[in-house]
């Protein structure tokens, strides 16, 4: 009797992807907001708030990618050719953003160029990730074990919409992070920016929630057939409650709540997408089980992952602990 490892790998991968979306999400969001801060001293504080942790967050993208490849290779080999250009744009934007972050210290004369590179790179990378998510939900043309569409199939109104939607979403996370890490006028600014982003996020959630069931009869049945409509009703109700709480959190004195509220909204959206697509990993062609690698492959990697992942999480938690508290201008980089 061979133990079915697919549920465990699904959980691990969902954890990795959610971790990546929240954590690199907020620092990409901070990167976008950085471009809108007028004062140079404030911009430094904004940068410093993510300086120690952003690249650690990005390594989860590698883990997510390689985890998908190892556990569900068929999904990896169909999805990435389909999002050839969004992936390319995302990777190059992340590379550019990464070196911009470091090279901006090189010389005052080119500083502004690299700073702009940082916020532009953050925005482009986010938009590209939104394209990937939109294309994923939308589904792929598949022939056998190959993607059968063209490299421009991702150009759909839906994917372009989710691209913009994710920019608001990450910026919301970023604003929540800035409320937590800054004080005074900059924090007030972040609270206002957060409410603007929240309006964008609400529009995005409403539109996507109406758009997806209309596009797919399968998703419609999943949500609106009886008794599903009753069983799943907590998801939209909780989402509405969280949105209202988030609005007031940005207006209140609370400093951690806006960030936690943003994470909660992402978690609910994540659950919503999972409910719509389950058990598909290549919508709407292959299930998790059909796309899984051999049991031997999953077992071989699982042993090391279960051992190493807790250590990595412990280290990460420790590094956030080390850099806790407010960022101030006087302990900046120079």
């Amino acid at each position: 009797m061979v133990l079915d490892l697919v549920p465990l790998w699904t959980a691990l991968l969902a954890l990795a992807v959610f971790y990546y979306v929240v954590f690199d999400g907020f620092d990409l969001g901070v990167g976008m907001l950085h471009g809108m801060v007028a004062d140079e001293r404030d911009r430094n504080i904004v940068m410093n708030s993510i300086a120690p942790i952003w690249d650690g967050n990005e390594t989860w993208l590698v883990f997510g990618g390689l985890g998908l490849l190892a556990a569900f290779p068929l999904a990896f080999t169909i999805i990435f050719p389909a999002v050839y250009f969004p992936t390319l744009i995302m990777l190059l934007a992340l590379v550019f953003r990464g070196v911009a972050f470091e090279f901006r210290f090189r010389h005052p004369a080119v500083r502004r160029f690299w700073e702009r590179g940082f916020s532009t790179g953050s925005a482009i990378a986010t938009f590209a990730q939104g394209l990937v998510i939109g294309t994923f939900i939308h589904g792929f043309k598949v022939d056998g074990r190959n993607f059968a569409g063209t490299s421009l199939d991702w150009v759909t109104p839906f994917a372009l919409f989710t691209g913009v939607a994710l920019m608001f979403g990450y910026a919301l996370l970023g604003a929540g992070w800035l409320v937590l890490k800054t004080e005074g006028p900059l924090q007030d600014w972040a609270r206002r920016a957060g409410r603007v982003c929240l309006v964008g996020v609400v529009i995005a959630i409403v539109v996507v929630s109406i758009w997806t069931p209309l596009e797919s009869a399968e998703i419609w049945r999943r949500w609106f057939s009886w008794p599903n409509i009753a069983l799943l009703s907590p998801v939209p109700i909780l989402t509405a409650a969280t949105i209202i709480a988030e609005w007031f959190a940005f207006r209140s004195r609370y400093e951690l709540t806006p960030f936690l509220g943003a994470i909660a909204l992402f978690l609910l959206s994540f659950i919503g997408i999972a409910i719509s697509l389950w058990p598909m990993i290549v919508p709407f062609h292959y299930t998790l089980w059909q796309a899984a690698s051999s049991n031997s492959t999953q077992a071989f990697l699982l042993i090391g992952t279960l051992f190493l992942l807790p250590i990595i999480l412990m280290y990460t938690a420790w590094s956030y602990w080390v850099f806790r508290g407010k960022v101030r201008g006087d302990i900046g980089y120079h």
Binding site: A51, I53, W54, D55, G56, E58, T59, V62, G65, L66, G67, L69, A70, P73, L74, F76, T77, F80, P81, A82, Y84, F85, T87, L88, L91, L92, V95, F96, G98, V99, F101, E102, F103, F105, R106, R145, N146, F147, A148, G149, T150, S151, S293, S294, S296, T297, F300, L301, G304, T305, L308, L309, I311, Y315, S319, V322, F323, I331, Y333, H334
Partner: protein
């Protein structure tokens, strides 16, 4: 050769990996060098090791940062451009790649932070331990990625089910026949590359009369290592060659530029290969020497490419010339190591200006040798991605068009041509400042306790102060 998505994807792969490999070629050796310096400082307490470690750690951090961002690109290439190969081989190669991420990235990024910024926050032994862990991480990274590559070169431990490779024996998969040779040959090559850079930087500083104790120590340490590992590398290379003869004879034939099987076989020093006519033009041969080198016998048989049908032969020109450049560089390196050692024994090393100048010129040769070695082994295994089992032409993503890959290739070229020169100029400017000026680790407290900002910390020490 027609311009098709396969060719363009191969060029794109070659472009991103050739640039990427330059960084591990440097950081693997440098991480171990820093660990040695930290160990020497821990056990002897001599300031010179402290200064050298700080100096090289800063340069290490910059190259490591570039290695990370250029490395993130690599796994996604498997999905975007090589989806059919990935579909067929993922069950075998993907856990090895994932283990590289889990084991190596974790160790390196956690302990690099302590190494970079933790000098005053942790005791000396912990700092030494961090250096050891970073070095260990780079070696683990080499281990897993070369295990992956070696399985593609000499596959075993698998079974084919419905056209896909499935694992049968993980030990056989990880330790495929070419793996031990490839790992040792690569890592030794990385160490040699780093040692020549260290020696070149030391010579540059010494000729300007700067940081004399430090630069002499750099040159001495590099020379003492090189006199041992350059001859060893020649031995390892020879052993790797014997292994290639056994498992990838067509690759060996391409390296030798041999179209006709011969026993005894001559050694072709130079020639212009003509694949379509299957003949070596203007060949300069040394009789019987080929048999001696390749089979360790005067009369051993060396197979020629005509033993294989034309569609199973690798192109000859690239492996043939790249191999000769690599071996030529090896000879130059041996010469430099021996001459330097003689000068050192006679006590004339520090005032032999021509030798110090020569050290500067040979400093980048290791990188050339590494890339040439990579070209030799990768072009030599064509036309296969999984040797003898899966063709490169059958590996590419079927949906890609010429326009798609032309566009992505152009963008990779542009971004790398901005990123690499900037990074190299940055590292060179750090090296020029020398250890004396950047000796004191610039600790500003916990805010700097992460590996995230190597450039920034380096810049702060280098430019703003």
């Amino acid at each position: 050769m027609a311009i098709d998505p396969v060719l363009l994807s191969r060029i794109q792969w070659a472009w991103v990996i050739a640039w990427h490999i330059l960084l591990p070629a440097f950081t693997v050796g440098l991480a171990s060098y820093i660990a040695v310096l930290e160990g020497l400082y821990f056990f002897t307490g001599r300031e010179v090791f402290f200064r050298l470690s700080g100096f090289w750690t800063r340069i290490f951090a910059v190259s490591f940062g570039m290695g990370v961002v250029s490395g993130i690109i690599m796994p996604f290439q498997f999905g975007t451009n090589w989806s059919r190969f990935t579909d067929a081989a993922a069950d075998i190669i993907s856990p090895m790649m994932a283990y590289e991420g889990l084991m190596a990235f974790f160790l390196e990024s956690s302990f690099l932070g302590v190494l970079l910024f933790g000098r005053r926050l942790v005791p000396t032994w912990a700092h030494f331990f961090a250096a050891l862990m970073v070095a260990f991480g780079t070696l683990l990274s080499s281990f897993w990625i070369l295990a992956t590559n070696s399985w593609m070169q000499t596959p075993q431990g698998y079974q084919v089910v419905n056209g896909r490779f499935e694992p049968v024996d993980w030990f056989a998969i990880v330790f495929s026949p070419s793996f031990p040779y490839r790992l040792v040959h690569n890592v030794t090559g990385f160490y040699i590359t780093t040692a020549f850079v260290v020696m070149g930087v030391g010579a540059w500083l010494l000729r300007r009369g700067r940081a004399i104790e430090d630069s002499r120590m750099m040159i001495r340490m590099a020379l003492n290592l090189l006199i041992i590992i350059v001859p060893l590398q020649i031995f390892f290379g020879d052993q790797h060659g014997l292994n290639t003869r056994e498992y990838q004879p067509a690759k060996l034939a391409a390296i030798e530029g041999r179209y006709d099987t011969a026993a005894p076989a001559p050694l072709t020093l130079f020639g212009i290969p003509d694949d379509s006519a299957a003949t070596m033009r203007y060949a300069v041969d040394v009789p019987d020497l080929g048999s001696l080198v390749l089979t360790h016998s005067w009369t051993g048989e060396v197979k020629g490419l005509k033993e294989w049908p034309p569609d199973q032969r690798p192109p000859v020109a690239l492996p043939f010339f790249a191999f000769r450049i690599m071996v030529g560089i090896g000879v130059i390196m041996l010469l430099v190591a021996v001459v330097g050692q003689i000068l050192q024994v006679r006590g004339r090393l520090w005032n032999t200006v021509w030798f110090l100048r020569a050290c500067q010129f040979v400093a980048p040769l290791g990188f050339v040798a590494v890339v040439c070695g990579w070209i030799t082994t990768e072009v030599g295994r064509q036309p296969w991605t999984v040797y003898g089992l899966m063709r490169t032409a059958d590996s590419v993503s079927p949906s890609l068009t010429v326009a798609d890959v032309s566009m992505s290739l152009a963008l990779y070229v542009i971004v790398y041509l901005i990123m690499y020169p900037t990074g190299v100029v940055f590292m060179a400017s750090l090296a020029r400042r020398g250890p004396a000026e950047v000796q004191d680790p610039h600790v500003t407290g916990i805010e700097s306790g992460r590996p995230s900002r190597p450039f920034e910390d380096a810049a702060r020490a280098g430019f703003d102060s």
